[in-house]
Amino acid sequence: MTTLTLAKAMNLGLRKAMEDDPKVLIMGEDIGKLGGVFRVTDGLQKDFGEDRVIDTPLAESGIIGTAIGLAIRGYRPVCEIQFDGFVFPAADQIITQLAKMPLRSLGKLKLPVVVRIPCGGGIGAVEHHSESPEAYFTHTAGLRVVACSNPVDAYTMIQQAVRSDDPVIFFEPKRRYWDKAEVDTSSAPDTWHPFDTGRVVRQGADLTMLAYGPMVKTALEAANAAAEEGRSIEVVDLRSLNPVDMPLVTESVRKTGRCVIVHEAPVYSGLGGELAARITEQCFYNLEAPVLRVGGFSTPYPPSRLEEHYLPDLDRVLDAVDRAFGY
């Protein structure tokens, strides 16, 4: 066991993936000597060379487009998009090419490309540096979408993403990059939690709280606070956003009868809406209350001095818990 920040766990996971498979490449802006703006790729170019850790021109569509070409040639590129708000120049290549090419080829082509996106707010950043664009990608068939919430998952999930033969959009909670946890870097891959499944991170009996990425920590804090009032909240870290581990979700909701979904992205047309609909369809007779959602507002992400009002925090999550118990 080693104590690692989430960023360092990502770094070690990427290093392991590169050691395990010489076809794994890393590409992005400022990922070489600088080690990425969050230092996730720190030291990798020094050890693996410029041909495998590629500082690219400053153009996101070019990063994904050339990664697709490299994947057709047999490589497994891991692309870094520097910030969430900068993925949109690459959206065309991701949506029209990366997601659809395996089907277009009737399965003859596989595109094992990972697109890493630091996401979410809470770091006092300027515009376009705090967004949560996951719903654009969960809506696109052909992509797997995952979000890690802690150093252990960061270390294992990035390696699972690299090993996947499907394109993976990999969200990293940027305000949790510096959170620490014990990580067993000697664990065998077959002991890891399966890639496309969620996990119950806190057992509870009265309400299920669904979260992913940066909001898992917030959800756990809310569950602890609620426990002081005698409410037993089960927290599920979804981890995989497409596909979602619905058997895990429905098992929990059938047990508790109440559900609150928390994400930073705007509530309207967000992933929470899809989850609420599915839970209602599948757990209708078990629900004691409507499925409630807590998330960002239908406004562009605000200037950072207002972000504490935009981002779900302990109080807003507990408010939703109160409302769920009010039915």
Binding site: L25, T56, P57, A59, S61, G65, S105, A141
Partner: protein, 366 residues
Amino acid sequence: MTADVSRGAQSPPELVQLLTPEGERIEHPDYDIDLTAEELRGLYRDLVLVRRIDLEAVALQRQGELGLWASLLGQEAAQVGSGRALTDADMAFPTYREHGVAWCRKVDPVQLLGMFRGVNHGGWDPVEHNFHLYTIVIGSQTLHAVGYAMGIQRDGAESAAIAYFGDGATSQGDVNEAFIWASVFNAPVVFFCQNNQWAISEPLEKQTRIPLYRRAAGFGFPGVRVDGNDVLACLAVTRKALADARSGQGPSMIEAFTYRMGAHTTSDDPTRYRVADELESWKLKDPIERVKAYLAKSGIADQSYFDAIDAEADELGRDLRRRCLAMPDPQPMAMFDHVYAEPHALVAEEREQYAAYLNSFEEGAR
């Protein structure tokens, strides 16, 4: 408002040509080609057969057997010339109009029809033929070609990639990013632009105010304009560009100056935006007639050879028609295939639900 093209004006563009529209063989100081009689006859055969495939596909669309077809009429020489310059190990990334290149890469013509008939989104094995799937989003494939070329570099292989695109695509960000990537990584890729003068209804001057091949210089690699209706010149110029790429000299751009003699696709009506005289003037530069004239004048082929090729073309057309009509419609559940390479719970669930829904009708009928 239109651009004042006199600003930044340069010398008139040069055009590499080895065979005049009248069928006269001419020399060029930088590009030479020495083909056997059999190879020359082979190029003629390619041109005629490719045009026949295209003609049959247009007819099939008109009769409702294809939803759409993008005709290559007039661009046969650019495609056969560049396509025959490729070795088996080279990799081609086409748009949706490269039926002539597909022919050179030994893709069965009936496989080209699948996406236009609506039975699939691309029916051939891109790995087997080293001919990527057709790409409909304009210019996207140029980045794929560059990435593939970067893979060739990393493999230490002696091959190259070629990216096909049109004059309209040169306005796309992806094409410009592809130029930058290829340049800074010195990637073994050839950018083959078929300038057919029209991007649907928009003439070339809506895309550029300098000759397209001169854009290459700004990105730091050579560009050349070739007579795109001259199969010998297209072959010679592409061979050299590919050889340069394979030997580590980096990317280059070829502008094949040609003309889209037909509509953009079968859904288009060019009479709304261009004059008939333009088409007539380009008919005089037809890519096939000049080869035929040269072969006849030089005694490499005679009328009996031309007749034999015409007969072969007709048989190819008949065969293509027969096999197009015999193409089965896909089964409904096929749309769930190949969405993901690995098992995916959501697609599996929806597949199961839809199969049950369909089965409920069959059971009801019994």
